[in-house]
Chain length 256, copies 2
């Protein structure tokens, strides 16, 4: 029984794995309700999650967890729950959004190498936007702010073997798994063929699978990556698809 393209693509995106319900919900709020004062009402939230094959009980557990963690606050308006990002949740979300929704055109081709005094500062360097190439050796773009005692050297054209070495550190296998699914979405889904609910679901699954990878590595200039790094193609497709399927207005996701 062949299903429609939306269902096929939705199933493929869900099958990639790694979809905790609370995490999908964070993606959904980040994509649809990031503006200050924006809320998602209970019925809309339930409908979107149900369309992603998530049971109502799992939605309730995830909401409880996100409230406990200070990410989401809920209040009642009559008999309808209204859910919104807290100040903390909003802050974290906007920080991540800068990477998630970044244009695929890199701002600069310049890069730098940092040498630190010891390997124990690795976590700090990663938090500063560096990629760990070797113990004590880090690579970053020009926007990175290295600790004052690190040695910083400006990058020169990177040899092919270095780009090839960096590619898996920049999660090429993960992008390579996502890429054919994004290509299928791009080929089979046209503007105007989705309901607002389906659009919300498709965007949520696209952003979720993308952010699961992109937030786990720094932004490095193309000068440090092979031309065939799968992250490049994924980034362009994500950008194309999010533009093709703009955010639906929250109030029209559920037919009244």
């Amino acid at each position: 029984m062949p299903s429609d393209p939306f269902t096929q693509n939705k199933t493929a995106l869900l099958a990639l794995g790694g979809h905790r319900v609370w995490s999908l919900m964070v993606t959904l709020f980040g994509d649809l309700a990031q503006e200050h004062g924006s809320t998602i009402d209970g019925p809309t939230l339930s409908a979107v999650m149900a369309e992603m094959d998530i049971r109502p009980e799992a939605v309730r557990v995830a909401l409880h967890r996100l409230r406990n963690d200070g990410w989401i606050s809920s209040e009642m308006c009559g008999r309808t729950g209204l859910h919104a990002l807290t100040a903390t949740g909003h802050h974290e979300t906007t920080q991540a959004s800068a990477r998630i929704y970044a244009s695929p055109a890199p701002p600069s081709e310049s890069w730098r190498l940092a040498l630190t005094q010891d390997a124990a500062t690795s976590d700090d360097m990663i938090a500063r936007g560096f990629l760990t190439l070797l113990p004590r050796i880090y690579l970053g773009d020009v926007s990175t702010r290295a600790p004052s005692d690190a040695l910083i050297l400006e990058g020169t054209p990177a040899p092919d073997w270095l780009r090839a070495e960096i590619s898996p550190l920049m999660l090429d296998p993960e992008y390579a798994a996502l890429l054919p699914i994004l290509q299928k979405v791009e080929q089979t889904m046209q503007r105007g063929m989705l309901t607002p609910l389906q659009t919300a679901v498709l965007r949520c699954l696209l952003v979720h699978n993308w952010r699961r990878i992109v937030l786990r590595h720094p932004a490095l200039p193309a000068a440090l990556l092979p031309d065939d790094w799968s992250g490049h193609a994924c980034h362009k497709l994500i950008d194309t698809l999010l533009a093709r399927f703009p955010r639906p207005t929250l109030s029209v996701i559920l037919p009244s």
Copy 2:
């Protein structure tokens, strides 16, 4: 029974250890008979080696070894043996001399960092004049010729911790052991107080102890070393002392 300053200094220089007879002889030929066509006759060689407390039998064994290794050739002139560097020995000696007799003033403060594709090229990089800082990470001055596939980054001001880390790799402890002996020589030995034979011996021991260290590490600019790196002070003293005690003319080392 206190001995004279020359004997005291000679004993201290000999006591540093690592003085194979054949190696001392290579130093002697390099210092006194490096010019093409220059020879050291048997009696002069014997007298210099005897002044360094080396037995005649050990001199004969070392000469035999150096002839077998193609470093030294000997011919008879009447009843006197004349010993000289071979073409091979001359080539190796002049190459080493560029480092051994280099001026203490560094030609450049610039340096570079090289990243290689794998750690197996370490010997090659050392031969090219690089210091191994970390696996695959090398430091060199601007005269180094890196392999074409290495990534080369131009140096920037090096932090103190990096200079401190480099110091022992540049054999600071070995220089620190030599330094007080050179200082004692500088304080107690004045121009004109030595015979030509004593001058030949003192120069040979100074050059020998210096080259044992300096040829085991690359020439790095001062920008990569702590100001108190013992190699700096040793280099200045070696330069001062070799200028204070110029090479004696070979024909006057032995009183006729």
